[in-house]
């Protein structure tokens, strides 16, 4: 390896977003302080082979200093790390000595690295003596974990990504991979093009972007998934497609499971009715399932976030066990995790119902084993509190100190109001985060500045058990430190110096690897003992590898259970009898709509990072309530109008998005928008704390709501160079303004606000005045300040621009309807920060330059290609995605927009077909 290769190697890292875990390359400047361009895909990484989604492509945009927490803050006062960690150590010790170890809790995140997880888990479970270590992974894949453990005796993902490409039938359940795992979706899509016989089935109440590649879409009743797989089990037997050999040799409990399935799902009609689909569709799925040996069932949050999430997982696994479709190429039950390191957390045991290294408290001898390995003085003896229970215990005063790391429970946990009560009540809230202001950080007594992606250093594990390095390539912002350092500092100050005295992060990884192999002897699936003595150099050069990695398998393990051996006491996989159930919460007269939740294409979690990248807000800039046109008609709302969405617990205010992808009576709200970005859009505030009794995972995709239209509003947007405090607006949503990557010094706070105000409460002019008072513009008003105003009483449009020294400083558009023009051009004017030309001054209140063509809604965020451009290119004969890509570049970078481009293509084709038919009719 020559120096150049080394240099490249050393700038490789892993994307911090979803569970696909793509390899990326950072274009690091020679001096190592900043990036010189966009992040690109790592062609060598087996997760993505160079591909990237739109979020990954814009990673560089998120590495801005804006909003970063740079200094520890204790009780509102900035302080040193020395003081902060001492204070934490003292307070934890005092509280634990007064109230016992269970008065302490960690609430961690699938965003932190395995090494961070490891020391947190070790400190709590071995030294403080509590298993109150839970994580936001609870909200993401806890049900899948329990499902695997019930069936396999271990939390083992059997498959890998290549299986997705060589299967002949892919059943995607509760997954909108096109948006949530875009690179896997791209791989699947490419495989389907290469192998056209490959069938894809999507099971999802919503018609999502993923359905674009589906041969069959089952728009089932929310939560009815298990019935489908119960039916498949029965139907497999009826058609004599069971793998009796496999059942006999490698499994147990088939008979009970099968009879339970038969009782519930005796006939297709009943199942079809239960799932609200046609029997024809159900039969089609059964035909394909029975005929296709190489079948993958690919499942995600739609299965997991449910009161019966574990049962759904096992219903799926049952089918694979009954056909022996597991442990071989192109088949298996494949749970896809949401977060970059949910898997790493699971490996460490960083969940309240795990001990460590894939051992549970209930695992015979495990507590003793771990105690000896850690030389731990205070071993926790039993399961701790899972996320929802934990926050209830905090509110009840049982848990008195919580250390929240890299997660935002005020947004992500159900019943925001309860979480707020808990945090307000809690004696000591410690928050480690890279952002200063989050919905959660405002409740912190102690704030610790954490290193962020590109600064932090360690490993993560993706959905196919592949361990990759997240490298610390850029220097930490301000006085930010790694989470493991913060934890170890506190641990040492609590008196556990010997156990937490790591000089470097690779020592933690080595210890974690050693524990995984400690007295393992093949008893535990998770074993990376090959790395038990890893040195700094090898750790830094670590290439992505799938566990287990042992002396016998130094290259890692592509596929699990190939030998039919499982990690149950008997070594056999277990069938689990399943009684399919619908969600507990059902619509009623007061709350007649069923609410579903999920992600949008270009955002990640609570937007602390993606919310900084203006380009990532082009595709979807505002939160919304999606509903079908019939429901919209009934509610008398039009596209973009505001509605109030109420549940028994809370309320949000959102603009309406009408789409035929929703079924009548079902609505959808994205999960991302927090109080930092919108007025009242936190969907968790509507969701009850109802959880799966086995996994503790909340049913976040199901709530009942009522919807009411809000009338007499003035809609508008504002683009300002100064941050506004939009307290008095009924609705607002803030997005950053694209600075064109230049990072113009004066424009750090340039933001765009979409808003709505009550006509009766304020007027546009009054609102503008309030803003200017807030931003102190009025006090600066001088000859350098200029106003441009447009009033059109015919349509009620009112637009005001404020210029300073001839440059656009702030601009407001108002309308009685949500029919405001696109802001892109205005935002670009604000970003370029030039003295405006006379033509621009005229165009300001028109919203677009006269010469510019209206591109339409952004489809391709990478190259900023709009819908109208694509439509016109299609009309000009560029009628394939490839041709469009060559012409407009759309879809040629990250490819996240390819489903939508495909949609536009098929719409146009359908239209031209209709026209042809009409013409033929006419002839």
């Amino acid at each position: 390896m020559d120096n150049a290769d080394k240099a490249v190697q050393n700038t490789k890292t892993t994307c911090p977003y979803c569970g696909v875990g793509c390899g990326v390359v950072l274009p690091l400047a020679a001096e190592g302080t900043h990036l010189t361009g966009p992040v690109i895909g790592d062609k060598c990484h087996p997760a993505n082979y160079g591909r990237l989604c739109v979020k990954g492509s814009h990673l560089a945009d998120t590495l801005t200093p804006e909003g970063r927490l740079l200094q520890p803050i204790v009780d509102g006062q900035e302080t040193s790390w020395q003081d902060a960690t001492q204070t934490i150590a003292d307070r934890i010790k005092r509280i634990v000595s007064e109230h016992g170890p269970d008065a302490f809790a960690f609430y961690l995140s699938g965003q932190i690295l395995t090494e961070d997880y490891y020391v947190a888990n070790k400190l709590a479970k071995g030294f403080i003596g509590t298993a109150n270590v839970d994580t936001n992974s609870r909200l993401c894949m806890a049900s899948a974990v329990v499902g695997y453990k019930r069936a396999f005796g271990s939390d083992t993902v059997p498959c890998n990504y290549e299986d997705l490409e060589c299967c002949d039938l892919l059943i995607m359940v509760g997954s909108n991979a096109a948006w949530t795992h875009p690179v896997l979706y791209q791989r699947i899509q490419a495989a389907k093009i290469a192998r056209p016989h490959m069938k894809i089935v999507v099971i999802d109440p919503r018609k999502t972007a993923t359905c674009d590649i589906a041969d069959l879409h089952l728009a089932i009743a929310p939560g009815s998934d298990a019935a489908i797989f119960s039916y498949l089990l029965v139907e497999t037997a009826r058609r004599q497609q069971l793998n009796q050999d496999y059942i006999d040799t490698h499994t147990e409990g088939f008979a009970d499971t099968f009879s339970q399935a038969q009782v519930f799902t005796g006939n297709a009609e009943f199942v079809a009715q239960f799932c609200q689909i046609s029997t024809l569709q159900l039969q089609q799925l059964a035909d394909w399932w029975c005929d296709t040996e190489k079948t993958i069932t690919f499942y995600s949050q739609g299965v997991n976030q449910s009161t019966t999430g574990v049962d759904k997982s096992n219903a799926i696994i049952n089918c694979h066990l009954a056909t022996g479709r597991i442990g071989r190429e192109g088949m298996g039950p494949f749970s896809i995790t949401g977060q970059p390191n949910a898997m790493g957390g699971r490996e460490v045991g960083g969940l309240a119902n795990q001990l460590a290294a894939h051992m549970d408290f209930a695992t015979s001898g495990a507590i003793d084993l771990v105690q000896r390995f850690w030389q731990a003085p205070n071993m926790a003896q039993e399961n701790g509190l899972k996320a929802v229970d934990l926050f209830q215990a905090i509110e009840a005063g049982k848990v008195k100190v919580v250390w929240i790391m890299s997660t935002n429970p005020m947004v992500s946990l159900p019943d925001t109001q309860q979480i707020q009560r808990a945090l307000e009540q809690c004696g000591l809230v410690i928050v480690s985060d890279c952002q200063a202001n989050t919905d959660t950080s405002r409740f912190a007594d102690i704030l610790l500045p954490a290193t962020g992606w590109s600064e932090k250093n360690g490993t993560v594990t993706n959905s196919e058990r592949r361990i990759s390095r997240q490298r610390g390539l850029l220097p930490p912002a301000g006085n930010a430190r790694h989470d493991w350092q913060a934890i170890c500092d506190v641990a040492k100050k609590m008196g556990y110096h010997h156990a937490f005295d790591y000089q470097s992060v690779h020592e933690i990884f080595a210890e974690h690897a050693a524990l995984s192999g400690f007295e393992n002897k093949g008893k535990r699936d998770f074993d990376i003992s090959y790395f038990a003595d890893i040195q700094q150099t090898d750790y830094d050069a670590l290439v992505p590898i799938q566990w287990p990695v042992t002396k016998e398998r130094p290259q890692g393990t592509a596929r699990m259970f190939s030998d039919g051996h499982f990690f149950t006491p008997t070594g056999k996989a277990r069938f689990i009898p399943i009684a399919p159930q619908l969600p507990i919460v059902k619509a009623n007269a007061d709350f007649p709509y069923l609410l579903n939740t999920g992600r949008v294409r270009d955002q990640w979690h609570t937007m602390t990072r993606t919310g900084k990248a203006a380009k990532l807000l082009d595709h979807t800039s505002q939160p919304y309530l999606e509903l079908c046109s019939q429901d919209a008609t009934q509610l008398n709302v039009r596209e973009g109008q505001l509605v109030r969405v109420n549940s028994e617990l809370g309320q949000v205010v959102l603009p309406v998005k009408i789409s035929e992808n929703q079924r009548q009576g079902q609505v959808f709200i994205p999960i991302h928008w927090t109080s930092q970005f919108a007025s009242a859009a936190v969907v968790s505030s509507l969701i009850p704390q109802i959880v799966d009794p086995l996994s503790g995972q909340p049913e976040s995709k199901n709530a009942r709501v009522s919807i009411e239209k809000i009338a007499n509003l003035t809609y508008g947007f504002a683009l300002t160079k100064q941050a506004i405090i939009p307290e008095e607006w009924l609705y607002w949503c803030r997005t950053p303004i694209d600075q064109g990557g230049q990072g113009n010094e004066g424009n750090k706070n340039s933001h765009s606000y979409d808003f709505a105000i009550c006509m009766s409460e304020t007027t546009p002019s009054a609102l503008v005045k309030t803003h200017l008072n807030q931003t102190h513009c009025l006090s600066e008003e001088s000859e350098k300040s200029e106003w441009i105003e447009y009033k059109n009483p015919v349509n009620g449009h009112h637009r005001i621009a404020y210029l300073h020294e001839g440059k656009l400083n702030a601009i407001w558009y108002f309308s009685p309807n949500p029919d405001l023009p696109a802001k892109n051009w205005l935002a670009s004017l604000m970003a370029t920060n030039n003295v405006l030309t006379p033509a621009d001054r005229l165009a300001l209140l028109m919203g677009r330059a006269s010469a510019t063509v209206d591109k339409g809604a952004t489809i391709c965020s990478c190259f900023n290609v709009g819908e109208k451009q694509i439509r016109s290119a299609i009309a000009n004969g560029y009628n394939t995605a490839t041709a469009l890509g060559q012409q407009l570049k759309c879809g040629t970078n990250c490819g996240s927009c390819l489903p939508e481009i495909g949609n536009l293509l098929s719409q146009t084709q359908a239209k031209s077909q209709t026209e042809t038919m009409k013409m033929q009719d006419a002839v």
């Binding site: 105003e789 009033k791 059109n792 015919v794 006379p838 001054r841 005229l842």
Partner: protein, 492 residues
């Protein structure tokens, strides 16, 4: 046959006399003289010593934006060479229609076959004390400019009236270094062309130049002093030196310029027995109440309207020229028609329009001829904006105003709409879209679909003119079709 031959013979010796060698008169002479098929002998008679100059440019001349060489409208030498008999400084004092002859001040008699009144107008003087003093003048002709140009440096001048002419005079005088105060009766300047917002911007600009304004006040008296105290003005008669305002204030001044409007010059016409209302009444051919006598320009009145701007006068001229050239063949017809029209004006269209182009009233855009100031105004602005500050008035509800105001650049656009048709335009600062808006106004088409973008001008409304014209035409077709069966039904 006989008759026609006789006519042709007579043409060679027939005379067309034009009273007034201002813009309309001299231009008419020039156009007719250039036309080889027009066989009249032309006599052009002007009261002023100078003839054929471009009166519009007087303000520019005063402001020294142009020099005297740029004042010419008609080349008088060429005119004479073409055989036109040009008489200047010798006003017509009598018109004897019975004998078809004119008497000039010099005593000269001129016989005519056809007579054109192009007597123009005179500036109006306010009927107040002191109005006839020698240092109270109007701003109307070249001589006035010469007088104003000869003022001693740093004189104080009071301009009464902030209309187009008054403001142009004020700017010209200011540019010559004089201290100018403009007194205006209305509360905002140029109130027949601008609304308050535009007027405010214009006023701010003029104040920057150095002009002072006293608005919302009337001059009550022009106060006198003895002549000898005004050594610098070589006049024996007493001079005014102060303007007393209705507010009670007095303004000290060396000279007063009255720019309070114009009055059509009709004394000769009245004396000749022509039908005169505010001005000489004409029809669409510019024919007066008497055969072979025509009128055009500021001295004529068409459909109760008189004229002060040049654009319609050139249109009148075109109509008149067409009429005169075609006269021989259609003399009988038109005479009949003319008589019919004068008795019953509603019949005009039926009787005349098919024969030749006739003059029609059209809205006219106004511009201020001051370099560095761009304004454009169309429509009856004072009427359309009279209820601007009264939100409850019916006028305010009847008209809709779309506005775009860039105070910093002093750019302002206001479009006044009535039932989705454009009826008024005020542009200040950036007038580049003026003509485009004006075309939309002239089209009288519904602009319903374009009101969101209209005020941003042509670049944002490409092809709008074409589109609305064709769309409205289709609508009209549909209406006509729909209406036809009803008509039939009612007939049966």
């Amino acid at each position: 046959m006989n008759h026609r031959k006789k006519s042709v013979h007579r043409q060679k010796t027939r005379t067309l006399a034009i009273i007034g060698a201002g813009m309309a008169g001299s231009k008419l002479a020039s156009v007719l003289a250039e036309d080889k098929r027009f066989h009249y002998r032309i006599v052009l008679i002007g009261a002023e010593k100078r003839a054929g100059y471009n009166r519009i440019m007087l303000s520019s001349l005063l402001a020294q934006d142009i020099d005297v060489t740029q004042m010419s409208l008609v080349d008088m030498t060429a005119l004479r060479r073409a055989g036109v008999d040009t008489i200047t400084g010798d006003p017509v004092v009598d018109v004897i229609t019975e004998t078809k002859s004119l008497s000039l001040q010099s005593g000269r008699q001129i016989a005519y076959d056809k007579l054109i009144f192009a007597t123009g107008s005179t500036a109006t003087r306010l009927p107040i004390e002191g109005t006839d003093a020698t240092n109270v003048m109007c701003f109307r002709n070249w001589q006035d400019v010469e007088r104003l140009s000869a003022l001693p440096e740093n004189s104080s001048v009071c301009v009464i009236g902030a209309g187009l002419l008054g403001l142009e005079a004020a700017v010209g005088l200011t540019k010559r270094g004089h201290k100018v105060t403009v007194v205006h009766r209305a509360s905002s300047i140029l109130n027949r062309q601008l609304d308050a917002a535009a007027a405010e911007m214009l006023q701010a600009k003029l104040v920057e130049i150095g002009i002072e304004f006293r608005l919302g006040v009337r001059p009550e008296k022009l106060l006198w002093v003895q002549a000898e105290k005004h050594a610098q003005v070589e006049l024996a008669e007493p001079l005014v030196n102060r303007v007393q305002l209705s507010s009670g204030d007095e303004i000290a001044t060396t000279l007063v310029v009255m720019a309070t409007g114009i009055t059509p010059e009709v004394s000769l016409a009245k004396q000749a027995g022509l039908e005169v209302n505010r001005a000489i009444v004409v029809n669409g051919y510019m024919e007066t109440s008497q055969a072979d006598i025509y009128a055009l320009g500021e001295c004529c009145e068409f459909q109760a309207t008189t004229f002060g701007l040049i654009a319609p006068i050139w249109q009148q001229l075109d109509c008149l020229v067409a009429k005169l050239k075609d006269d021989t063949q259609t003399m009988l017809d038109s005479k009949k028609a003319c008589q019919t029209y004068l008795k019953n004006p509603q019949t005009r269209n039926h009787a005349l329009t098919k024969i030749q182009p006739t003059f029609q009233l059209e809205p006219i855009p106004t511009r201020l001829k001051v370099s560095g100031i761009q304004l454009f105004s169309v429509g009856d602005i004072s009427r359309l904006t009279e209820h601007d500050n009264d939100e409850n008035s019916t006028t305010a509800q009847l008209y809709q105003n779309i506005t775009l105001l860039d105070k910093g650049q002093r750019h302002y656009r206001r479009l006044i709409l009535e039932e989705d048709k454009l009826v008024g335009i005020i542009l200040y600062g950036d007038v580049s879209d003026g003509n485009w808006f004006f075309s939309l106004l002239q089209s009288e088409k519904l602009l319903t679909e374009s009101l969101d973008t209209l005020i941003f001008g042509e670049v944002y409304n490409q092809d709008l003119l074409e589109k609305i014209t064709s769309a409205n035409r289709q609508n009209e077709n549909i209406k006509t079709k729909a209406a036809t069966p009803e008509k039939k039904a009612s007939h049966s």
